[in-house]
Subunit: 159 residues, 2 copies
DNA sequence: TATTGTTATACTCTATAACTATA
DNA sequence: TATAGTTATAGAGTATAACAATA
């Protein structure tokens, strides 16, 4: 307990919260801010974060399978169906038969898909440049490196 | 395009993805890992991240209103109803009439609520200590500071 | 036996819009 | 007019379980 009655406004006391000392809480709050700005940046393109991520992988690894994309993104492969449907509806990719494995629908980006990926990547670059304008290159690299270590489950200071 | 055909496994190529250079993507992936571990840590307690956050604020600011908690957490106040209902059902708090403003239901933590908060905070401390065991105190502080700057929309390198 | 794509399904999170009581 | 609590509702996001075809 800190004060009684409650503080007058959220900002008055935000810095005193024990929540603010938790990495998980700060991660979540920061993520919400970035996702919100991402959405604004993708407004014209209409790509969700997941759709962009999938398109990005498919553009860089033509003929990859849905399951492979799912593994790279760390999501269940069942969720890839709707995303693939969406990207196919936009004519950003085609499902093509795989010669080597008849279970697989190889995902082939179209020219429109490659172009959309390039456009999106540029817009996201601008969005991150704007959002992190005050972060030095070192700070940005440090942030990414720390986040990568969390993702990889590695605890060692120097990966 | 990097390779054709697709790489053999997700891990082979993960480091080459352009996604890996994006802060937003890394933020999301790291957040998923931490949230997953948080859930495991809260298994016995049965508290969702949001329920814990709300309980934490209410425990530290007795008699705070739902709307005030919502503002602190950065979520819409409509979402607070279900969380408050849940915490009240667990007998972790009571809705009490506010003397000063009859619109407000002041949220009063019970002894059980304070105890649950203390237990949860301890378990979360252990969960974060485990998850970030290999991060130096400096690295943890740096991470939190960088995340805070994102949340606050401040771009300046030093607070 | 294991994996791919797929469907059905369900659950969580969260926002918007509207209502009422009150300020 | 504005705010508090509330309800109804809807849309993401994502997981689990199952199935047929194929490996």
């Amino acid at each position: 307990m800190k004060t009684d009655p409650a503080p007058r406004s959220a900002e008055d006391s935000a810095d005193a919260l024990s929540l603010d000392g938790l990495i998980g809480y700060n991660l979540k709050r920061a993520y919400v801010v970035v996702r919100e700005d991402f959405r604004r940046a993708m407004e014209d393109e209409g790509l969700s974060p997941r759709a962009f991520s999938a398109l990005s992988i498919i553009a860089e690894y033509p003929n990859i399978s849905q399951s492979e994309v799912a593994r790279m993104l760390g999501v269940d492969r069942s969720g890839m169906v709707a995303i693939t449907d969406d990207l196919e509806r936009r004519a950003y990719l085609r499902r093509t038969a795989s010669a080597r494995d008849r279970r697989v629908q190889a995902l082939m980006p179209t020219a429109a898909g490659q172009a959309a990926h390039a456009r999106a990547l540029r817009k996201i670059g601008e969005h991150e440049a704007r959002l992190f304008a005050g972060f030095t290159p070192d700070e940005q690299a440090t942030l990414i490196a720390l986040l990568r270590r969390i993702r990889d489950g590695r605890s060692e200071p120097e990966g």
